[in-house]
Assembly symmetry: C2
Homo-oligomer: 437 residues x 2
């Protein structure tokens, strides 16, 4: 059978990994794809840089159009990050009749309407296994392998940088700033890690999974997200005392035909597998109506894990599997979207940490306000203040008070929080975390 | 598009689950499969039994030939267990030009040569997601999603009954016999649980995964297997003291182009995810040359998880994906099989438990014999004997001695064991377990 001719746009770290697999495992891939996969063109910014793989003369080019205009190329691996010019290039490729494999979650999260429509118009496919959870084949699982199931929930650790930082903070009793700095030195965190640590990256991936699982296209603005950048070591330790680990958890859950979605630092019982996913790994826990709970773990980023996902998409395209699968994914289920549960109606148990003045009646006041808002308490931690004896006359020491609520609505908690903010005895910060069921 | 007409042979527990999904999720499946999936015939032994699902008149039949001879039926779901008549029926179906979906691991383990050849001759497919690890889509993952990888190892908990028993023994300080009896009462273990607890079931599944991953067809006789039926609670507890859990682990590992395979009760460090898979769950840890380590967990058996896997295979067939995938699986890679490492050359760390007479020189004798066989010790547990003071004059109390070796070959250990058996001070049983890397 004739080779599948591919082009790579954006021959950076992942692109070089893709070229390595195509080169080093050519025989194996030919066998499994039913035909040779031939890297015909790859665009670079610098022709002379060493990429750890030797390519024939003429493959590397600085001109994107050499890929888009090449009639022999039927699959373009689009590895440029961010929105522009990635969006424009992607649309060009589709309009030129190329199938596209991409790892760009930000672009798909924001512009999948336009991109998928262009694919359909041109009778092309878009494959994006590498956009979510790195080397874990979770797009395949949700889109194909569990096609026999109505999914009921997705709970996932989708940002390796955040998970690495949380793990190291907890294991080494270290502060957020200290570990973030170290992670940047080691290359585990970007120089500008904003989107990793503020929850944006995880939220973009959750949008893609939710679209694929339920056919509902949600915007980032439609659900609450918070990252790990407001967490303190103290919270990880109190959670530990209560029998929980804190993870940056991305959740989509079908409840009464609506979708409850959020990305939040979340307490997870230590005996649940997700609680024990440490370091830069990702993990996805799926609940299906037939299969029950299954879960999937692996490296969430990195050159070769991401390249592994890209090449699997290429093999699918070479065999013709993608052409069969793509038109029947739930992403095409227009007009039957699930409503997203409004922020105030999100229902959960919550972990609350207050900084309170250590004097009579403070706890009673807090409990009273929570009670007035119909919030009942499941457990409480208040340790003796180490500074109590040293407090000067007329001054109160500040002590932490940790409370775990029973299930309640976020709206009630926000209203209570407003009332609590009037209490003189409460100091900043007031920490609020979700607790997973 | 015209409906996919299917027939089920063996409408037992799993078959009824398949019928339930096809009936209750018909709209969803039609969308995802690109065409309706229509259950045309299902064979039963008793037409009147309640199966928890209402089927149109005329679907149930007691005559297998009504399925095989029906020219409209293109996919047969073959759910009869054991070897005969399952083998004969499967070959009839394939020779009649039907694609087959099956959950029968024993049959495929023993007769895949004949069955796959019949499929190829008749231009049909055999799909067997449900045969391995129940609801975990591990056949899809190994056969498709990780097609970009040369797998380096498979380590898996593939028997839910064994894992349930080990978990309960450890958590409740209970004996093997006690928990097995309870598991049978609860329906977690069969009335005759032999193949579950002696490792046969796990070994059959490992044979299928190994064939799919490396194209090497191994017989059950070609690698050592042992079940959990020789384990004692004491060993689970000593393992715990050393920082390990004991799991019935099925392992295939590529080493120097040969395959090291075994099914054995194995010590796994408690901080590894596989060690924390408790209860009736299954889990598979895969090492790929590009992706690194990924792992997959879920229910390993049960009506609906198994039916979930069967229906996913049916959807694949309805879409036409199986027809593209099946001819390019590694199972067709004849002539390039990997040799299986002979039992004696299996290399591992080992856990050894001896029952020794509590008198001078016994430990020195054991260490001496192990040393003569080039086996060095990594750790040792010998607790004070509780009966020591009560021992009668002239009698020795019997105490357990637990030793963890450094990496060595099983052959050396077997030779040492022979020498050890000559020592008067050693009593039965002498327990030997693998320790995972």
């Amino acid at each position: 059978m004739s080779p599948l001719e591919i082009g790579i746009i954006g021959m950076g770290n992942v692109g070089s990994g893709v070229a390595k697999i195509l080169t080093n495992q050519a025989d194996m891939l030919t066998r499994r794809a039913g035909r040779p996969i031939h890297l015909r063109k790859a665009t670079v910014r610098d022709l002379s840089r060493d990429r750890g793989v030797t390519l024939p003369d003429g493959v590397l080019t600085m001109d994107v159009n050499e890929v888009i205009d090449d009639p022999e190329i039927s699959v373009v691996v689009q590895l440029i990050g961010g929105i522009e010019p990635a969006r424009e290039i992607m649309l060009h490729c589709l309009n030129a009749g190329k199938n596209v494999v991409t790892a760009n979650k930000a672009l798909l999260c924001e512009h999948s309407d336009e991109i998928f429509a262009a694919a359909r118009e041109n009778n092309c496919c878009v494959a994006y296994e590498a956009a979510v959870a790195g080397g874990i084949p979770i797009i395949d699982v949700v889109g194909e392998s569990l096609a026999s199931n109505q999914l009921l929930s997705i709970e996932a650790i989708l940002n390796g940088t955040s998970n690495f930082i949380l793990t190291e903070m907890f294991n080494r009793d270290a502060s957020y700033d200290e570990i973030l700095h170290e992670a940047q030195q080691l290359g585990y965190a970007e120089a500008d890690p904003t989107f990793d640590i503020d929850g944006t990256d995880a939220a973009q991936k959750l949008v893609l999974l939710t679209h694929l699982a339920w056919g509902t296209r949600v915007s980032l603005e439609d659900f609450p997200r918070r990252g790990i950048d407001t967490l303190e070591l103290a919270d990880l330790k109190y959670a530990g005392e209560l029998g929980y680990k804190v993870k940056l958890l991305a959740t989509s859950r079908l409840t009464d035909d609506r979708l409850e979605m959020h990305v939040q630092p979340t307490l997870i019982k230590t005996d649940r597998p997700l609680a024990n996913i440490d370091g830069a790994f990702n993990a996805v826990s799926l609940m299906g109506d037939a299969v029950g709970r299954t879960w999937y773990c692996g490296p969430g980023a990195g050159q070769m894990p991401t390249a592994s996902a890209v090449v699997s998409d290429i093999v699918d395209m070479a065999l013709g599997r993608t052409a069969l699968t793509f038109p029947h994914l739930e992403i095409w289920r227009a007009g039957s979207e699930h409503e997203v549960v409004p922020r105030e109606e999100i229902t959960s148990r919550f972990y609350l940490r207050f900084q309170v003045e250590d004097r009579p009646h403070v706890f009673a006041d807090i409990a009273d306000i929570l009670g007035q808002h119909d919030i009942s308490l499941a457990s409480i931690i208040q340790h003796e203040s180490p500074e109590l004896d040293e407090a000067k006359e007329g001054e109160c020491s500040i002590v932490p008070l940790v409370v775990m609520t029973h299930r309640t609505q976020l709206g009630k908690l926000l209203a209570a929080d407003k009332a609590l903010s009037e209490l003189d005895a409460l100091r900043e910060p007031r920490i609020r975390l979700l607790v997973a069921d």
